[in-house]
Symmetry: C2
Subunit: 304 residues, 2 copies
C-alpha cells in the first residue's frame, strides 16, 4: 500500500494510473498537480485525485511515488522545480514515449537525486485526452517498459514496477537507448510514414479525387496519422538519432524494392511480400496466444 | 432482368455478384466456370450458380452478361477461349484491380469484339476467399469503377452498371489510365509500403524483440501486409508505371522530411503532421457524411 502518490498531469495517462491504483486498493492518498486548474478540479470531482496540490514542492513532500504524466517537453522544468523537495524515501517515475532524452533531462535537473528517478513508459493510450478520458482499466493487460538507471536501487525499481502491476500491466525492462531504438522501429517510424503518405496525397492537384477512392486498407494504414501533431513532433525530435537510423534503413529497403519493380522482378517482390506476411502472421499468432514474457526473459533483456 | 449470366471464378467476388443479383431477383439463370471442380460443385450446392458449364464457350453462348472474376493473370487466356462464342447480344465485364493491363489484354484477345468488353473494378473484399466466403451483401454501399472503352456503346455500359447497382453498389467512372493512377496512390503504394516495413523489421537481427513491443498502431498500419503475396505481386507488376511514379514521389517526400528531422526542424515536421491529420479528418468526415457522388459528377469524372 502506497501512503501518498503525486501525479503531475491528471489526464488520460496520469488519471488512469491513479484510478487503477485506487480501484486496486493500492494507494491511500492521491495529490494532483497541473497547469490547468479546470483539469485539476475535474479530476477531484471524478475522484481521480483526493487533493489539489498548493505547489509542486508540497505535492512531492512525503510522497512514496511521483508520476510525471505531463507533456514530455515539461519534464526537465518539473524535475527542477521539485528537486529540492524530494526526500530520501520518494521515488519518481515518468510515462514519456522516449527515454534517452528524459534520462538526460533528469540527470541535468536532479543531480545526485537522479538515483531516485526510475524512467518508465506505459504502452497504452486512447484517442481521447483529459481527466474524463481516464479509465481504471487502461493498463490492464498492457506492457510497461522500465528503463532503469545504473544508479537506481532494486527497491526503487520494484516500487515503480509493483505500482504498474497493480494497474494490471506486465513489466518489461530495456535500457533507455534500446527502448528508443525499438520504439523508433515499431512506433515512431510508422507514424512518420503514415503522416508522410497522407500529406503527400493531400498536396497533389487531384487530392479530392484520390481520397474519394481511398478505402478501408488506406483507413487502417493511416489511422496513426490522426495522432496529435504536437506530440509527434516532440517524440520524433526527442528520438531523432534512432529515427534517422530507422528511416535510412527503410529508404534503402524502398530503393531495393523499387529496383525489383522497375525490373518487373515478380519472384523478388513476391518473396518480400510473402516474408512480410509470414512475419506478421507469426506476430499476430504470438499476440493471440497471450504472449507473456516471463520474468527471467525480462531480466535478460535488461542486459541488452 | 438478366436471362443468363456466366461467372468465371465462383469465389468471393464472382460468387457475391451472383448471390446479390439472385437476391435482388435480377437474374434468371447463373452458369459457373472455373478451374477448380470442387469450387464449382460447392457453388452449385450453395445456390450461387444454377449450372456448371461444360465448356467456356457453352457458358458464354446466349449470356446477357459475363463476369470475369478469376485471377487477373488468367484474363487474356479466358478472353481468347471465349472470343469465338461471344454473340452480338453478350456484354463482358471483369473485376480486376488494375485496368490498363486488362484493356490491353482484351484488345489483343477480342479484336473487334472488344466493343462488347466493359472493364470494371468493384472496390470491395474480405480476408477470406472461395465460394463459402461469398455474401449477397458484399457490394452494398460499395463503389464500383467502370473504365468504359471508347468502343463501348452506352447500352452495354449501362447493362454492366445496372447489374452492379442491383448489387447495392454506386457506380463511378474513370478512364483506365486514371483508374490505375488513383489506385496506385491510395491502395497499391500503401500495400507496398506496409510489406516493405514488415519485411525490413523481420530481417533485423533483433526482430523478435522489435515485434514484442509492436502495438495497435503497428497492427493497423501493417494490416494490409497480411494480403495475398501472389495477388499483390500481380497487381504491382500490372500497374508498374503508375506505381513507380507514386513510389518516386513518396521517396522524395521522405527525403524532404528526413532533412527536417536531421535539422531538428520542429515547425516543419509539425506542419506536415498537422496537414496530414487535417486532410485525413476531412476525408473521414466525408465518408461519415455518407459521401455519395451524384451521377452528374460521375459523368464529369469520366472526362478526366
Amino acid at each position: 500500500m502506497l501512503d501518498k502518490i503525486a501525479i503531475f498531469g491528471v489526464g488520460l495517462i496520469g488519471g488512469s494510473f491513479a484510478l487503477a491504483l485506487k480501484q486496486a486498493g493500492a494507494v491511500r492518498h492521491v495529490v494532483g498537480v497541473g497547469r490547468s486548474r479546470a483539469s485539476l478540479e475535474r479530476a477531484l470531482e471524478l475522484g481521480i485525485i483526493d487533493e489539489i496540490a498548493t505547489s509542486a514542492a508540497q505535492a512531492v513532500a512525503g510522497a512514496d511515488l511521483v508520476l510525471l504524466a505531463a507533456p514530455v517537453a515539461q519534464t526537465e522544468n518539473i524535475l527542477r522545480q521539485i528537486q529540492p523537495a524530494i526526500g530520501p524515501s520518494t521515488v519518481i517515475t515518468d510515462a514519456g514515449s522516449t527515454k534517452s532524452d528524459v534520462v538526460a533531462a533528469a540527470r541535468r535537473a536532479l543531480g545526485e537525486k537522479v538515483a531516485q528517478f526510475v524512467p518508465g513508459h506505459p504502452i497504452a493510450g486512447r484517442e481521447m485526452n483529459g481527466p474524463d478520458a481516464a479509465l481504471p482499466q487502461l493498463y490492464a493487460g498492457k506492457k510497461v517498459v522500465i528503463a532503469a538507471l545504473p544508479e537506481n536501487s532494486d527497491q526503487h525499481v520494484e516500487r515503480v514496477a509493483a505500482a504498474w502491476r497493480r494497474c494490471g500491466a506486465t513489466i518489461f525492462r530495456l535500457s533507455a537507448e534500446r527502448h528508443d531504438q525499438v520504439f523508433a522501429a515499431v512506433s515512431h517510424l510508422p507514424h512518420f510514414l503514415a503522416y508522410a503518405l497522407v500529406d503527400d496525397i493531400a498536396r497533389k492537384p487531384n487530392a479530392d479525387q484520390l481520397f474519394q477512392y481511398a478505402a478501408s486498407g488506406f483507413r487502417d494504414f493511416t489511422r496513426i496519422a490522426g495522432s496529435s501533431p504536437e506530440m509527434w513532433r516532440d517524440i520524433t525530435l526527442a528520438n531523432r538519432d534512432a529515427m534517422l537510423d530507422e528511416l535510412d534503413a527503410y529508404i534503402v529497403q524502398l530503393q531495393r524494392m523499387r529496383a525489383m519493380l522497375d525490373a518487373a522482378d515478380g519472384p523478388g517482390l513476391e518473396a518480400v511480400y510473402a516474408n512480410a506476411r509470414h512475419a506478421r502472421e507469426n506476430w499476430i499468432g504470438a499476440i493471440e496466444a497471450g504472449d507473456k514474457t516471463p520474468a527471467s526473459k525480462a531480466i535478460q533483456e535488461n542486459q541488452q
